[in-house]
């Protein structure tokens, strides 16, 4: 926003070169001895660049472990220049990083890396998501069997489903918290991300389970969701899956208003 009192151009010229290392330093800066302006301005450039790369690294530790620090920081440096933060809330930064990885030429030998990043982004979103109660697993036993099909669930604010055409869940799990790394079977994988007792959990889902849970999260009835899950995988063990999801804290309540429909 430009104003006519001379202050906005100073901020604009000062800001403009912060993420552009090849641009000249702003015209209107000075020092007491009139020299050293490049090195002095570069303190700000360095603060901005390093702190933003550190922010990306703190959001995507598993990606950094996979690529190694040098590769990661070089990739993140390109990223922060292409996608600087638009909000002061840095824990919400880096949403375009998975897409950026997908298009990053040097990462093309790791087609699953972007999905690992998507799981990490979801992990941090779950970490900061709003607080809410968890639906107790034994609640369902109080519902008459003929009423189960019409039940709807309210997801806990932390709950997310991620689907990958690659074994991204296994790769994430091996590289999260510095776990053991071993050979991975090439297959599609889905994950349920939840937060229970302030611990974020990433649960590897059976085939078809994501179709079922996504439908429930979207507000479909248990009956509709079950049909979608069984269509995707006729062998889906629905009762076990519901128990796993409730145990992981995926839902906060039953939606009583619409369950009578």
């Amino acid at each position: 926003m430009l104003q006519n009192d001379g202050t906005a151009p100073i901020a604009a010229s000062f800001a403009g070169a912060l993420l552009r290392p090849n641009e000249p330093v702003p015209q209107d800066i000075t020092s007491h001895h009139g020299a050293g302006l490049i090195e002095r301005y570069n303190v700000y450039r360095n603060n901005v660049t390093v702190s933003l790369i550190n922010a990306v690294a703190s959001i995507y530790p598993a990606v950094q472990r996979i690529t190694g620090e040098d590769f990661f920081r070089a990739m993140a440096r390109f990223y922060i220049r292409a996608h600087p933060p638009r909000s002061p809330l840095l824990f919400a930064y880096g949403r375009e990083f998975p897409d950026f990885i997908e298009a990053y030429e040097y990462a093309s030998s790791m087609p699953w890396l972007a999905d690992v990043a998507r799981i990490e982004r979801a992990w941090l979103d779950a970490y900061h998501a709003a607080d809410a109660a968890h639906l107790a697993p034994d609640m369902l036993s109080e519902i008459a069997p003929e009423g189960l099909g019409a039940l709807r669930f309210r997801p806990h604010p932390a709950t997310r489903i991620l689907r990958s055409a690659y074994p991204a869940v296994t790769i994430f799990s091996m590289n999260h918290n510095g776990g053991e790394v071993s050979a991975v079977e090439d297959r599609p994988e889905d994950a349920l991300v939840t937060r229970r007792d302030d611990e974020v959990m990433v649960t590897h889902l059976d085939s078809g389970a994501a179709d079922f849970l996504q439908a429930l999260i979207a507000g479909e009835t248990l009956g509709t969701a079950a049909a979608l899950g069984l269509e995707a995988n006729p062998n889906l063990d629905l009762s076990r899956l519901i128990a796993v999801a409730l145990d992981a804290g995926a839902f906060s309540s039953l939606d009583m208003e619409t369950s009578h429909d």
Partner: protein
């Protein structure tokens, strides 16, 4: 790959749900609060005076950060230190950020609230650094308007912190101390005197830290920051100090702190440490050193000397 998003900011809904005890901070030394230190803080047999948090780290809707801050706030007074309001910039403050800040203040009832004489957002890009501004009538008007607006929205008095800077501006027409004094006079805000910033800026701009402190409006100082700094050179071979917050407070900064307290009396003092974090006992020892100096000045008359 799809991702079902559902993050909502419900801080405001919870603002009335939690009420914390009132604790006095007068004459106390505190430290930055880092969640890594929480178990050690809770297990320690002695108390720290207060803890300071960066506001933005607690602006998520929920989850573990709030559990940690609730736990600390139950036992201690807390200082909320904003690092992203961009009070020193020419553009309007972000109304969403003001509301988030207000929600945080309402929720945690902090003993002290502070922000910086700096800017960090231009257009809609957030640079994540405390960037400098020229000191002149036009920038003074902007900063005062912004301080007024922030105090009015959050319903509390804020303390404005003097910056550490690495460049000066050709458009500057006022001394930093005069600029800061005028902000305090016009807005009624308090001041957060960062003694390390004075030392760093004095070295970087070739002025005397003692002269700066002699001119500083100490009567408005409500909180003090102490921190460590790093040393490098600019291209002209001149010493350039970096406000790094990654090591113990320098001896020279402790000496300046003694001088400030001898004139201002025992003002709540924070040891700031933000990167290369030490174990809790190391940070605790720094706060204890500040507390010893505060206690030695507990009967200093404060403004009597400052008003000389």
């Amino acid at each position: 790959m799809s991702n079902s998003m559902g993050m909502q900011n419900n801080l405001a809904d919870r603002a009335d749900a939690v009420r914390f005890p009132h604790y006095a901070v007068a004459g106390q030394a505190g430290t930055s609060f880092k969640p890594e230190h929480l178990p050690a803080i809770l297990a320690a047999s002695d108390r720290c005076g207060f803890f300071e948090v960066h506001a933005e780290n607690y602006m998520g809707a929920g989850g573990p950060p709030h559990r940690a801050l609730e736990r600390i706030r139950q036992d201690y007074p807390v200082s909320i230190h904003g690092v992203c309001m961009s009070l020193g910039g020419p553009q309007p403050l972000d109304p969403d950020h003001l509301q988030r800040f207000k929600a945080l203040v309402d929720r945690y009832e902090p003993a002290m609230i502070s922000e910086h004489l700096a800017w960090s957002t231009h257009d809609d890009i957030f640079y994540n650094d405390l960037l400098p501004l020229p000191y002149n009538e036009a920038t003074l008007t902007h900063v005062c308007d912004h301080v007024d607006q922030m105090q009015s929205v959050i319903g509390r008095r804020i303390f404005l912190e003097n910056p550490s800077t690495y460049v000066a501006f050709t458009d500057t027409t006022m001394a930093e101390v005069d600029f800061i004094r005028e902000i305090a006079r016009r807005t009624g805000c308090g001041l957060l005197l960062d003694v390390n910033n004075v030392f760093v800026s004095a070295a970087n701009h070739g002025f005397s830290a003692l002269d700066y402190l002699k001119d500083f409006p100490l009567e408005s100082v409500e909180q003090i920051h102490l921190a460590g700094h790093a040393e490098q050179e600019d291209g002209a071979g001149e010493k350039l100090l970096i406000d790094s917050h990654d090591r113990p407070v320098a001896d020279a900064v402790w000496q300046l702190y003694e001088i400030v307290l001898s004139r201002r009396g025992p003002v709540p003092t924070l040891i700031e440490w933000d990167s290369e974090l030490p174990d809790w006992p190391v940070l605790r020892a720094e706060a204890r050193a500040a507390q010893a100096i505060l206690d030695r000045h507990s009967d200093t008359g404060g403004l009597r000397d400052a008003a000389e």
